[in-house]
């Protein structure tokens, strides 16, 4: 799998490039839209919710604390949900290509991950710019984001690829999962701080793998503290396990997928 991926590296890179080019072809602002969209999302949430929630964000001495908190969480969530939702329909969208061309199938999810990562890096740079304007502190703790990003990617591949494969055979998944993803978003402390959840329910959050990730992002970006090592270790194992499972399924399902497309 890795060998064929290496042979097709040019194809993967040119696909990612082309995807960007074609997405912004004939638009005046071009690549800026990639940043405007998530930042506008932040602005909307901040405008609507900051007054309600601002008082409940302890530990950040910045009057834009809520906006910073929001951006930190969205950085993690956007990467996750983008990879998952694109993997979900990946094989169906590329069905014709899969049927008519012989090439390593693993390049397709790789292209998705590559282009989502690129988006995420650009979004991160834009956020740093916003942080600078808002007068928020940077620190070396941010280097933690590099391994964290990998964990998010592994988790997203694990879930997205598995569902994407199943979706080829059971198309209900493609309809149902986006709804579930919405619910998931609101059950993860991203637009609200974790302390507004009643004490007795907070333990349930542990079941949400995205909670420990967004929490780590919050710690790093909003509070300038390193993440909780225990949580990170557990989620890395889960993410790696899910990714290996999905790759195993991918190997097994590849021959049958073309028949069903």
């Amino acid at each position: 799998m890795l060998h064929s991926l290496w042979q097709y590296r040019h194809f993967v890179i040119s696909s990612i490039k082309n995807e960007l080019k074609s997405r912004f072809a004939r638009s005046k602002l071009g690549g800026l839209w990639m940043l405007i969209n998530p930042l506008a999302q932040v602005l909307i949430y901040a405008l609507i919710l900051s007054n309600i929630l601002a008082a409940k964000l302890p530990g950040i001495d910045n009057k834009y604390a809520y906006a910073i908190y929001l951006m930190a969480g969205l950085l993690a969530w956007n990467l996750f949900s983008e990879i998952v939702s694109r993997c979900l329909t990946l094989f169906i969208e590329q069905g014709n290509l899969l049927k008519k061309m012989s090439f390593p199938r693993i390049t397709l999810p790789t292209i998705v991950v590559g282009s989502c990562l690129l988006n995420n890096v650009l979004l991160f740079i834009a956020m740093l710019g916003v942080f600078l304007v808002l007068g928020h502190q940077f620190s070396w703790v941010m280097l933690w984001l590099i391994p964290l990003t990998f964990i998010v990617v592994m988790l997203a591949i694990g879930i997205g690829l598995t569902l994407g494969i199943i979706n080829v055979f059971l198309r209900d998944i493609g309809q149902a999962f986006p709804i579930f993803l919405q619910v998931w978003f609101w059950f993860t402390p991203i637009v609200y701080p974790v302390n507004i959840i009643p004490e007795s329910y907070r333990e349930l959050l542990r079941l949400n793998p995205m909670y420990s990730i967004t929490d780590a992002y919050h710690q790093i970006l909003a509070y300038g503290k390193p993440p909780l090592m225990g949580d990170i270790a557990i989620i890395s194992v889960i993410a790696l396990g899910l990714m290996l499972l999905s790759l195993f399924m991918f190997r097994r399902a590849s021959p049958e997928m073309v028949d069903a497309l």
């Binding site: 042979q7 097709y8 040019h10 194809f11 040119s14 696909s15 082309n18 080019k21 074609s22 072809a25 004939r26 014709n96 290509l97 899969l98 049927k99 008519k100 061309m101 012989s102 090439f103 199943i166 055979f169 059971l170 399924m249 097994r252 399902a253 021959p255 049958e256 073309v258 028949d259």
Partner: protein, 424 residues
């Protein structure tokens, strides 16, 4: 050395009672599929360097499935394909093209999809650009291309580097005639350099022309494999001759067939999709051909005379009928048609119950091939052009070539060559 060997290849589409059983199968839990639908089975053939094999068969015979398995996009259920060399497949032109990108960018992308490195693409780029021959459009977005232009670029990429085996699936039926010719030229020159070709086409003539061998798929299995001409003839026989008895009475196949020597009649030339209509005042009962010596025949010789004949039964009196016929190609292109009015022939009126034999005598100026005819009767006195009786695609005949004269086209002009020196 064989480039490609296909052994006992078969493909079945499996369905399970529940998709969950399929998923369980991936994890090693053996579950029998509830249904297996075999779309192809027991295919065996080999390709040697420089050989060209045509694959023919009706729609749904499994041609594309076979190509997909050889290309590797589809996994065989049984048997295996052994490949020694690089395969390039054109199952569809313009795969992976992005309409927003320029031709050049798409070439890069598509070549990457075929597994070429950047250097290889850069090397081949001038050649690709020259072959596509679409001038400045090469650097315009593909969305402004005509479909023909897109096909040009796509074909140029697909055949830029000579593969060991080229697989083509009816992809060449696009683009203008000049470009198609260019494509065939390139395929031929690659083949001269040792490339093998696997071609799927409905056009039997181009298979005969390009291929040395042919594989005929019928009902999901291998009907025959061998010399292209022999297999193609068998296929044509199957294609036009698979009729049941229903239209027998309409054709030459009826009572007359016993009288004839087998050389004159090809039993397989049986029309299956005839269309007949009319106002019922008369019916065309039977249509047949007679050769120059007056014998019923549907295999006719080039240059000889022949007759189109039909028998009409009048159900009520018609004062001035017009009789007509039309000769067409298999594709439906009209070649020659006329009627008694245009010929200036006088026809008399007929009474109810009259049975009349109509005969048009013609000189056979057709080139070799298979042709259809229409026959009809009109009423001269009626205001609008409506048929008393008309039968479309009522019969077929074949024009035979005694020897391979190398002529092309539909019509035999009987060219004579002469030359004289006018300057020395």
């Amino acid at each position: 050395m064989t480039l490609l060997s296909v052994q006992n290849l078969g493909k079945a589409f499996r369905s399970y009672r529940s998709e969950w059983q399929r998923f369980a199968g991936w994890f090693g839990i053996p579950i029998k599929p509830s249904k297996e639908l075999w779309v192809l089975r027991h295919i065996n053939f080999e390709i040697h360097p420089g050989e060209a094999i045509g694959i023919i068969g009706r729609n749904g015979a499994g041609k594309s499935t076979l190509l997909k398995m050889i290309t590797g996009t589809m996994q065989a259920t049984e048997g295996h394909v052994q490949i020694n060399g690089r395969i390039a497949a054109i199952l569809e032109l313009g795969m992976g093209f992005n309409p927003e990108l320029t031709g050049r960018q798409n070439v890069f992308h598509a070549a990457g999809l075929m597994g070429f490195s950047v250097e290889q693409v850069l090397d081949a780029m001038p050649d690709i650009e020259a072959f596509a021959d679409i001038s400045d459009y090469f650097d315009e977005p593909v969305r402004v291309y005509s479909s023909g232009m897109q096909a040009r670029v796509a074909f140029a990429v697909a055949t830029a580097n000579r593969p060991e085996i080229l697989i083509v699936d009816e992809a060449l039926s696009v683009g203008d005639a000049a470009f198609q010719r260019k494509c065939f030229h390139r395929i031929e020159s690659h083949m001269n350099a040792g490339m093998s070709l696997l071609l799927v086409s409905h056009d039997v003539e181009s298979i005969k022309k390009l291929c040395t061998k042919a594989l005929f798929l019928k009902n999901c299995s291998q009907q025959s494999f061998g010399e292209a001409k022999v297999v193609c003839d068998e296929y044509e026989k199957h294609l036009f001759g698979s009729a049941s008895g229903e239209s027998q009475e309409n054709t030459i196949q009826g009572a007359r067939k016993q009288e004839c020597s087998p050389l004159l009649i090809d039993q397989s030339l049986l029309v299956t999709d005839e269309l007949s209509y009319g106002d019922g005042r008369a019916i065309i009962e039977e249509v047949w051909f007679e050769n120059s010596s007056g014998k019923p025949a549907n295999i006719l010789d080039i240059d000889n005379t022949f007759a189109i004949k039909y028998r009409v039964l009048f159900k009520s009196s018609v004062v001035s009928p017009i009789f007509s016929f039309l000769i067409k190609t298999l594709e439906g292109i009209s070649i020659y048609g006329t009627d008694t009015e245009s010929l200036g022939s006088e026809t008399k009126g007929y009474e109810e119950g009259d049975r009349v034999e109509i005969s048009f005598n013609l000189k056979n100026n057709l080139a070799s091939g298979t042709y259809f005819i229409n026959c009809g009767i009109r009423d001269k006195l009626s205001e609008e052009i409506s048929f008393i009786s008309r039968r479309v695609d009522v019969a077929m005949f074949k024009v035979n070539q005694q020897k391979d004269t190398g002529q092309v086209g539909l019509v035999n002009f009987g060219a004579k060559f002469s030359s004289e020196i006018i300057q020395h």
